[in-house]
């Protein structure tokens, strides 16, 4: 029996900061192709964002909260280092306490990891329904150029075996050992990067292309059979090189490219790119999703759109609900002034 997605939604916090604000403050802006990015309000964190996106995804699917049997939450930037994170969101939503809940964290690959976990649940529970919420807002030192790209956002999906808008066709993964790019020692709440650019780029390309190629081979597909490809976006340029290596065009990337106006969304990057692709996809379109997490690993997932059912909470509509802030306001909201 096919399984897939029966509802989805995006949530983007309403504050934005433009690249010009960084240029004024620091003299330059280090995030390639990012014009502006989203910023959480002072009273938001990844759990409140996840709750918002997940509630919307449930509303868009029409699936009652009481029927959820699996809840998977993903984020690299949880408000606690130890404590069940998904419990907060589950209780906030009114999803049954008996649903098997899991927290996926410590890698920007966590979003697709949670999606795969949700589909695996359906594989062994044909009558089950899974809710997957991915929210992220990575943080780095304001002195570090890797901070410039970091945005905030959430996407959530309802996974089921009926009332599908997209069928899940399969997934493939690739994991390897790469150290020194984007990591966080236990005593740090801000990400670090040794800044060896060539090394990071080669890891990004190696892992993502291996996962994607494995999936294309498994499904017997060619890149031109996909209408859209949604690739991890540490900045707005990084996906292009992966797409080119795999034989995809910039046109296939366009719909899922969210980093130019939202920034690097961490674990929520590939999931929000997928939501943005769903927003414009037509029945029959195939969508390939490729995530990446430093250290390093990648998941590739393939979907086929089977119904023309859009969420009322599209990525574009969320991106348009906005208020600009300047760099000093940004520092205050981020609590970056000691």
């Amino acid at each position: 029996m096919p399984v897939g997605i029966s509802g989805y939604a995006a949530y983007v916090p309403r504050l934005r900061i433009k690249r010009e604000e960084y240029a004024k403050a620091w003299g330059s802006f280090a995030a390639a192709g990012v014009a502006e990015k989203s910023v959480m309000g002072y009273d938001e964190d990844v759990l409140t964002m996840a709750a918002k996106a997940a509630g919307r995804a449930l509303d868009s699917s029409g699936v009652p909260r009481a029927s959820i049997t699996r809840f998977a939450l993903a984020s690299t930037s949880p408000p606690y280092r130890e404590k069940l994170l998904s419990g907060t969101v589950l209780v906030g939503l009114g999803v049954p306490n008996e649903a098997f809940s899991s927290d996926h964290t410590s890698s920007t690959r966590a979003g697709t990891e949670a999606l795969v976990a949700g589909f695996e649940h359906l594989g062994s529970n044909a009558a089950g329904k899974a809710l997957v919420a991915v929210a992220d807002a990575p943080a780095a030192s304001m002195w570090d150029p890797i901070e410039h790209a970091l945005g905030a956002g959430a996407a959530a999906f309802v996974l089921a075996a009926d009332s599908l808008l997209a069928e899940f066709e399969g997934h493939a993964s690739y994991a390897s050992e790469h150290a020194g790019e984007r990591f966080r020692p236990p005593e740090e709440d801000r990400i670090q990067d040794l800044g060896v650019r060539k090394f990071s780029e080669s890891s990004f390309i190696l892992n993502t292309t291996r996962a994607a190629t494995a999936l294309l081979t498994k499904l017997g597909r060619k890149p031109e059979e996909y209408a859209h490809v949604a690739i991890q976006q540490p900045d707005a340029r990084a996906p292009s090189s992966v797409a080119a290596k795999l034989g995809f065009t910039d046109a296939q990337l366009a719909a899922g490219l969210v980093a130019p106006y939202l920034g690097d969304l961490g674990a929520a990057s590939a999931p929000l790119a997928l939501a943005a692709a769903f927003d414009v996809a037509k029945v029959g379109d195939r969508i390939l999703v490729v995530s990446y997490g430093s250290g390093a690993g990648s998941d590739a997932l393939s979907f086929k759109v089977v119904a023309d059912r859009k969420t009322p909470w599209s990525v574009k509509a969320e991106a348009e609900r906005r208020e600009n802030i300047d760099y000093v306001q940004y520092l205050k909201i981020k609590g970056a002034i000691e």
């Binding site: 309000g41 002072y42 009273d43 759990l47 409140t48 918002k52 009114g94 205050k332 609590g335």
Partner: protein, 141 residues
């Protein structure tokens, strides 16, 4: 600081996280927060749990500005400026108090449609206290 211990907070999580109210089985009115005896008919303590929609209209509001914030909200006020506190009349009837978020304080109006959502309220003893705040809901209520 208006100290609320973690156990006290925990007992009210259904109300704070998802607005669970008590519908009086005798008169049908919704009590929020729940009461021992229905505050509308004063004659029944037989209730049914109902989850409120969180949708409503601003009944009245005030702005909390510099120096006016209670200690647990002082940092929020410093970081984000003055913030609105509203009494919202929910579509189910109860009037509830809460902060308003995602709005320019100058734009808050009596009668504006709003919707409750989960936010961080404040942090005490290292524990984040989540609860509802109201956000504008264009076209709502």
């Amino acid at each position: 600081m208006a100290h609320v211990s973690v156990p006290m907070y925990w007992r009210t999580i259904p109300q704070r996280y998802r607005l669970v109210g008590h519908k009086c089985k005798r008169c049908g009115e919704v009590n929020f927060p729940p009461k021992g005896v229905c505050k509308y008919c004063n004659a029944s303590s037989d209730f049914e749990e109902v989850r409120l929609s969180g949708r409503g209209k601003v009944h009245t509001f005030t702005l909390i500005g510099a120096g006016g914030a209670p200690p647990e909200f002082a940092e929020q006020e410093k970081a984000g400026g003055s913030y609105p506190v509203t009494i919202v009349e929910l579509v189910e009837g109860p009037k509830v108090i809460g902060q308003m978020a995602d709005v320019n304080p100058k734009d808050v109006r009596i009668g504006m449609p709003v919707r409750a959502e989960l936010r961080k309220i404040y942090t005490e003893e290292g524990v984040i206290r989540y609860g509802f705040k109201f956000v504008p809901e264009p076209g709502g209520a």
